[in-house]
Structure formats: structure tokens, C-alpha cells
């Protein structure tokens, strides 16, 4: 048998051996490897990391870092705000929110909280700072401008005015 053939058979044997390792070693190792690469899901989907929390009467408002579209994404820049827990929210929410943390309110956000968790949500946003866009009776038309309920929070994404 030539050396090449010996190498070939060795590699084939190792491949069959590797098969045995797949469910017990390789799968777990590769999964950990991918998870440890430091990748993150695009913020257009995830909403960006939380940077601040404002305490209100019995509930809190999480403010996320503003998200800008990457490359040629067909979305606007936005900032996400989370009201949680939903159970503690009044039937009608109307909050002045200081988004950028400068001590001045930037927007007024108003929405009803229906008892039925599957009922559609609508939000109105009145900008007090020209950096933010107004929203009139908006549902969930696109990732950068919406109000949705996710688990025990109501998320509002307010588009930023185009620079």
C-alpha cells in the first residue's frame, strides 16, 4: 500500500472516529466556541444595550442606547424604551421621559395598556426635543418605529430625527 493510501485510510478512520465524538464532544465544544466569539445580534433587532433606568410609580422605564442603521439598512435610527412590569402599569400611561439624561424631559409617551395581552397596542409620542420624531397612533409597522409587548414589558421605539 502506498503512503498516500495509508494516509487516506488513516484520515478516513479518524473521520469515523470523529463521528463518535460529535454528540459527546465536538457539538458541545463548537457550540461553546461560537457562543464565546463575542458576537451580538444586530441591535436593529435587539434594541441595543440598556443604559439607564427611570423609576416611576410602581414600574420602571429602561432606556437603551440609541441604535443607528448599519450599512444600507432600510430603517431609521431609534431609541428603545421599555416599560416594565406590565402588571404594574396603569390602564393609561402618559410619561414624560428624559431620554438623554440631561435632566430635561425629551418626549411624552402615551399609550393604553389593554387587559388582553394579545390586543394590539398604539402609541403617541410628542417630542419636546427636536432630536426625536413624533409618533401618531403608531402600531408596529417597522423595527425602528413601534410599540409591542414582549414578555413582561412594553417596548416603544422612537425614531430619531434624521440629521
Amino acid at each position: 500500500m502506498t503512503t498516500r493510501a495509508k494516509l487516506g485510510y488513516t484520515a478516513a478512520g479518524l473521520t469515523v472516529f470523529a463521528t463518535l465524538l460529535v454528540p459527546f464532544v465536538l457539538y458541545g465544544a463548537f457550540t461553546k466556541g461560537f457562543a464565546g466569539l463575542g458576537l451580538h445580534v444586530d441591535e436593529m433587532y435587539s434594541g441595543g444595550p440598556k443604559v439607564r433606568t427611570i423609576q416611576a410609580a410602581g414600574y420602571s422605564i429602561d432606556i437603551h442606547r440609541p441604535v443607528s442603521p448599519h450599512m444600507l439598512q432600510h430603517e431609521k435610527p431609534f431609541v428603545q424604551l421599555d416599560w416594565r412590569p406590565v402588571g404594574a402599569l396603569p390602564p393609561h400611561v402618559s410619561d414624560l421621559v428624559d431620554v438623554d439624561g440631561d435632566g430635561q424631559p425629551d418626549i411624552r409617551v402615551s399609550f393604553d395598556v389593554p387587559k388582553d395581552p394579545k390586543a394590539p397596542l398604539r402609541v403617541n409620542v410628542e417630542p419636546l426635543n427636536p432630536r426625536y420624531q413624533a409618533m401618531r397612533n403608531v402600531g408596529k409597522p417597522q423595527f425602528s418605529e413601534l410599540i409591542v409587548r414582549v414578555d413582561d414589558a412594553i417596548l416603544v421605539r422612537v425614531p430619531l430625527a434624521q440629521q
Binding site: 493510501a5 463575542g38 458576537l39 444586530d42 450599512m71 444600507l72 408596529k140
Partner: protein, 387 residues
């Protein structure tokens, strides 16, 4: 001369005893795999046992008859039919609809399949960003094991079986393979071989567009298999058009064209993931060769190949194209035993059965681990109706 069918007498059957002996490792593996995931639920137990017996029986027949394609196809079609059963049931049980609402995408609970992997590489490499609305780790709901888990299983299995993924793991390909096997004869026989470059064109465009638009472009616009899994719930006319596109592509590439041509047309002419997996045929130690000393050429191998992976030029060279899925159709069709399984580096057609066995042990073990669990889940879903 090339067109005369000078078939050899049928391959003698391997003895039952020897076939059982060769099947024993697979039987042990099945016990390990299905035993490892044994559940207290009665329908799950019946489904697991049925699937294990099914897979062992098919492997036994592969050993007994020394043929691969026909028996592998049973598994593959079962996988293609039962995956949607289990998956769609799970989706509807969890959220009531096949349409993915935007809330689920924001929550990172979009299930991740392997098809977008090639399109996510550039944005991940350049900007450490995964342009898919899922979760890296498990995150409840339909996020399953998370994207890292799917990527992990894909990489592990690809290292072992390379492009054999398309014949032993892909839970979509079995639908068109089943469609292709229905008619006794192809109504459309002449296919321009340049269409087989289609998957590479789709891959190139989808990779570039995914980077430019920073989204999983194939999933959003072109994937035909959203018809049997899930799709983005339409929020406007464009969403409806997107959904119409995948229905049209599914009806054409997965149902109609396989019926007309008896080829796996979606795989051969469109699938960008398949093009990407072809790269791993270069790294795989197993391949299929043509022994030029035995080949007449009758081109029965070429006619039998479901993905047009054999051309006149490649037969002259004694090899298959990069798109070969190692399904075994050409080997089984060859009347002169010229098309053979092969281990790179070894002499062609010297102990091809050894190469076949080694490949099949690897491929079938993976098929049981991955596809088998999916088949069992689909069966369990059906059994739940009665038990």
C-alpha cells in the same frame, strides 16, 4: 456502444449474518442516541423505537443489497415529510401561527436553521454582528438551543460528512427527492447544464446583499422552505409579496420541477447553502470516482444523478463535480461497477466497498443523531393525536 445497456447480473446479496454483523455498530449507536434522549411520554417512546428500527432496517438493507441510494432515499423523504409536521406543530403550539410576529424577532426567538450560515459570515467577521433576529444562546420560545448550537452541530457534522449534509442531514431536501421519485419517467429530459451554476450565483448575491442590507437576505426574500416551516408575518403589501415569492419558488422548484425532471431542482439549481457546502467536498476524505478502465461510457450515472454532478468531461476525468452530494445514485446505477465510492489517496476501485462502508458508518451515524431525532419528533406529533 455507449448507449447499449450491458448490465451485469444483479449484485449478489450479502449474507444475512454478515449484513447483521455490519449493522451491529449502527444498532448500538441507535440505542445510544435514542436512549440518551429517552422521554417518559408514551408517544415519544413509540416514536423513538419506531425511528430506531426504521434506521437500523434501512442500514441493514444497504448492507444486504450493497446498494445505497434507494434505502437512503426512504430516510431522506421521511425526514423531509416529518420535519414540517413536528416543526409547524411546535410553532403553532407556541405562538399560534406560522408567521413570525415582530415581537418574536425583537425578543430573539426566531428559530435558526443552517441555511443562512454562509450569509452571516461577512457581517460577523467584519462587525461582530449576527444579522439574524435570533439568540446566540437559548432564550426560550422557539429559539431552541440558540444559534450557537445550530452552528455548532453544523460544523461538527460538516467536518465528518462534508457535502453529504445535503443527502443525510438537510431536513428540506427530502421533499423534492420524494417528488422526483414519483413519476416513472422524466417529462423534461434536456436541461441546460449551465443551470447548475445557479446556486453559486444565488450564494454570491445573497452574501453581498446580506452585507449591504445587514439582514439575512435569503431568508427575507428567497427561501422556498418558508412554505413548510415559518415566515415573517406580513405587516404590509411588501411582506405579502415576499411571502408570495417563497410560495411560488416552493411550488416551482420543490414540487413542479422535480416532478417534471426527476431531479432535485431546488438543490441543483438554486440552494445557496448547497453551493457553500460544496466547498467542503474539497476537505472531505470521501468522494465518488469513475474507474476509467471499466467505464464504457453509457452515461447512466449522469442520467441518474439528481443534481447533474456528472458531466461528459467529468466522466472522462473519472470524477464527479464539486456539487456531488454522495447520495449513491450513480454508484447504484452503474452497470459496470465503474462508479465507485472512494477514499482520497487510495487507488480507484480497489476495495470500493471498504470506502463505502466507512463513509456510510459516518453518514448514517449522523443521520440517526440529527435526522433521526427530527423524524421521531414528527412521528410523536402524529401519535399524540391518537395516544
Amino acid at each position: 456502444m455507449a448507449t447499449q445497456d450491458k448490465r451485469l447480473p444483479p449484485q449478489p446479496l450479502r449474507s444475512v449474518g454478515r449484513s447483521l454483523l455490519l449493522t451491529l455498530p449502527i444498532a448500538v449507536w441507535s440505542l445510544l442516541m435514542f436512549g440518551h434522549f429517552w422521554q417518559p411520554d408514551r408517544s415519544a417512546q413509540i416514536a423513538s423505537v419506531t425511528t430506531a428500527v426504521f434506521m437500523i432496517a434501512l442500514f441493514f438493507m444497504m448492507m444486504r443489497t450493497s446498494r445505497t441510494y434507494r434505502w437512503r432515499r426512504w430516510f431522506f423523504v421521511a425526514l423531509g415529510l416529518l420535519f414540517p409536521v413536528g416543526f409547524i406543530h411546535q410553532v403553532i403550539a407556541m405562538r399560534g401561527t406560522m408567521g413570525i410576529p415582530i415581537e418574536e424577532m425583537i425578543a430573539g426567538r426566531t428559530p435558526f436553521c443552517y441555511i443562512p450560515i454562509p450569509m452571516l459570515i461577512l457581517p460577523a467577521a467584519l462587525m461582530k454582528t449576527v444579522v439574524f433576529p435570533g439568540s446566540i444562546r437559548p432564550h426560550g420560545g422557539m429559539s431552541g438551543g440558540g444559534m450557537a448550537a445550530m452552528a455548532g452541530i453544523w460544523l461538527a457534522m460538516t467536518l465528518v460528512i462534508g457535502k453529504g449534509w445535503c443527502s443525510y442531514a438537510c431536513f428540506f431536501g427530502g421533499i423534492e427527492e420524494g417528488m422526483a421519485s414519483v413519476p416513472p419517467k422524466a417529462k423534461v429530459r434536456k436541461i441546460d447544464p449551465r443551470w447548475r451554476y445557479g446556486p453559486w450565483a444565488v450564494l454570491l448575491v445573497m452574501v453581498l446583499m446580506s452585507l449591504a442590507l445587514f439582514e439575512p437576505a435569503y431568508c427575507m426574500w428567497l427561501c422556498p422552505f418558508k412554505a413548510v416551516s415559518e415566515y415573517v408575518a406580513a405587516r404590509n403589501t411588501v411582506g405579502t409579496v415576499q411571502n408570495g415569492i417563497f410560495v411560488l419558488l416552493f411550488a416551482t422548484l420543490v414540487i413542479a420541477l422535480p416532478l417534471l425532471t426527476k431531479k432535485r431542482t431546488q438543490c441543483a439549481f438554486f440552494c445557496p447553502f448547497g453551493a457553500f457546502q460544496s466547498i467542503f467536498n474539497k476537505t472531505s476524505i470521501f468522494d465518488v470516482k469513475i474507474d476509467r478502465s471499466r467505464c464504457t461510457p453509457c452515461v447512466l450515472c449522469q442520467k441518474s444523478c439528481p443534481t447533474l454532478s456528472l458531466t461528459d468531461e467529468s466522466i472522462v476525468k473519472g470524477e464527479t463535480l464539486m456539487s456531488c452530494m454522495k447520495c449513491g445514485a450513480c454508484v447504484d446505477a452503474c452497470p459496470k461497477d465503474a462508479a465507485v465510492w472512494h477514499i482520497k489517496g487510495t487507488e480507484v476501485a480497489v476495495k470500493p466497498e471498504r470506502a463505502r462502508l466507512m463513509f456510510l458508518y459516518a453518514a448514517w451515524a449522523m443521520a440517526i443523531m440529527f435526522g433521526g431525532s427530527i423524524i421521531a419528533e414528527g412521528l410523536q406529533t402524529i401519535l399524540h393525536v391518537f395516544i
